[in-house]
């Protein structure tokens, strides 16, 4: 076998090098998979990120803004504002966000919720509402 002959011609150092290179090639295939960890819900309060969580794990959490606590729910691959101390509750009326790039905001309580990462691609780039 030509490959076996080649292998015999290698010094121990070369064999070690080949092994490391093969492992590196294998690891490079895993790289993109490690980045594709799924969509994340990111919550900013007054331009500072205070909370991140996977979109595919149901949970409820409270976020404190200048007016008080806003309750946010992640459920069934979507995120929404459940309760808010703001006067008009427009943030609750915005409903659910589920696609990458979707945004929810409570302006009076200075909270922005966004979805980032690999997820269902929105059918649009911007939403006029």
């Amino acid at each position: 076998m030509a490959l076996a002959d080649l292998w015999k011609r290698l010094t121990p150092f070369d064999r070690y090098l080949v092994l490391v290179l093969v492992l590196l090639v294998g690891a490079s295939f895993l790289l993109p998979f490690s980045r594709r960890s799924g969509a994340e819900v990111i919550v900013d309060v007054q331009d500072r990120t205070v909370f991140t969580a996977p979109l595919d794990q149901a949970r409820r959490f409270d976020i404190e803004g200048p007016l008080g606590m806003t309750q946010v729910e992640i459920d069934n691959g979507a995120v929404r504002m459940l309760s808010s101390p703001c006067p008009q509750k427009i943030c609750i009326g915005l409903g659910k966000a589920r696609r990458t790039g979707d945004l929810l905001a409570c302006v009076p309580n200075r909270i922005v919720v966004r979805i980032e990462g690999d997820n269902e691609e929105a059918e649009y780039d911007l939403l006029s509402r």
Partner: protein, 331 residues
């Protein structure tokens, strides 16, 4: 190295190639959000120069914040608050005077359906407060005294109110103007592809990586769903609807888009979307067409040069101007 078998060298090259290919592609889209002018503003920029794009976005947000100080009714020292408080006349900045003139022109073109002098009426309804209410008919009548397209006399930078109690509210135009200015700042920064979205008031700069931007139009009765997509470049899109700022009493929805003739929320539309060259114009025309109702609103949009639109009537019927053909996909 060169004394080693060829396959080892090839393997090295292969590894280098794979590592290079696996590098994440430089993300040319930079997106930032901020809460300005009482709404969520998102600026998206496509650029290979991230630092440059970030600087442009900083300047654009700063411009919007500056305009909030000029036009907000919630800031007692804004020019608009001072004009409302003025006994009769006041000298304003040329920028404010110019925006008031644009608003007045659209007010006249829409037979007063768009009105910048409804501040007292809006205060009465308190739609945007924790305790909105249905005012007494007599109070509504009093709040409408002196309003209309000719309520303000604008002479250069001098603005004279017809009635001293008139309160100015630029809710239907100022946010749009701020988006226009933000885009102008992005353009001056050398950015060629961007979009500014202030709570649904959108202006597009250029295209989206050689493709049109896809603008989703909110379904007025199903949150999170869209009724149509518009494929546009270099345009402005604004939607006015009865579904964001409202309260309900005895099964009736009371929202923030008032008919200046009655002082009541306009009832004939669920939403109106206007496409125009600039957001200030689109913003004011969307309010005007909403108040006019689907049939007259459609006529207004058809008759206004370089303006298109789509309207959802109170019964859910959808109408669109002829010029949107080819740009509009209904869902």
């Amino acid at each position: 190295m060169f004394g080693r078998p060829l396959f080892l060298v090839l393997l090295l090259i292969l590894v280098a190639l794979l590592v290079w290919l696996r590098q994440p592609a430089a993300d040319s889209q930079i997106s930032r959000t901020a809460l300005v002018m009482g709404t969520l503003v998102e600026i998206k920029v496509y650029s290979d120069d991230r630092k440059h794009a970030e600087l442009g976005i900083d300047v654009a947000f700063a411009e919007m914040t500056r305009l909030e100080q000029l036009f907000s009714t919630h800031i007692p020292t804004s020019e608009i608050s001072l004009l409302s408080a003025a006994e009769r006349s006041m000298t304003v900045s040329s920028e404010t005077a110019s925006l008031l003139r644009l608003g007045q022109e659209i007010a006249r073109r829409s037979a007063g359906s768009f009105d910048m002098t409804l501040g007292a009426l809006k205060d009465l309804w308190r739609i945007e407060s924790e305790n909105p209410r249905i005012p007494a008919e007599s109070a509504i009548k009093a709040a409408l005294i002196g309003i209309g397209p000719d309520a303000l006399q604008i002479d250069g930078r001098q603005v004279r109110k017809r009635v001293s109690s008139l309160k100015i509210d630029l809710g239907g135009i100022a946010k749009g103007y701020a988006v226009d200015r933000a885009v102008e700042k992005l353009r001056q920064s050398g950015i060629r592809s961007a979009a500014v979205n202030a709570g649904g008031d959108i202006r597009l700069l250029g295209d989206r990586q050689e493709k049109p931007w896809r603008i989703g139009i909110q379904d007025p009765r199903q949150s999170g769903e869209i009724i149509a997509t518009l494929n546009l470049k270099n345009h402005s899109v604004v939607t006015s609807g009865d579904y964001e700022r409202y309260f309900e009493k005895d099964g009736v929805r009371y929202h923030h888009l008032f008919n200046p003739q009655t002082g009541q929320p306009a009832r004939e539309c669920q939403s109106v979307t206007v496409v125009a060259a600039d957001v200030a114009t689109a913003d004011a025309l969307a309010t005007a067409a909403f108040v006019l109702g689907p049939q007259q609103g459609l006529v207004l949009l058809e008759q206004t040069e370089n303006v298109e639109g789509l309207l959802v009537a109170a019964d859910g019927q959808r109408l669109a101007t002829r010029g949107l053909e080819g740009l509009l996909e209904w869902h």
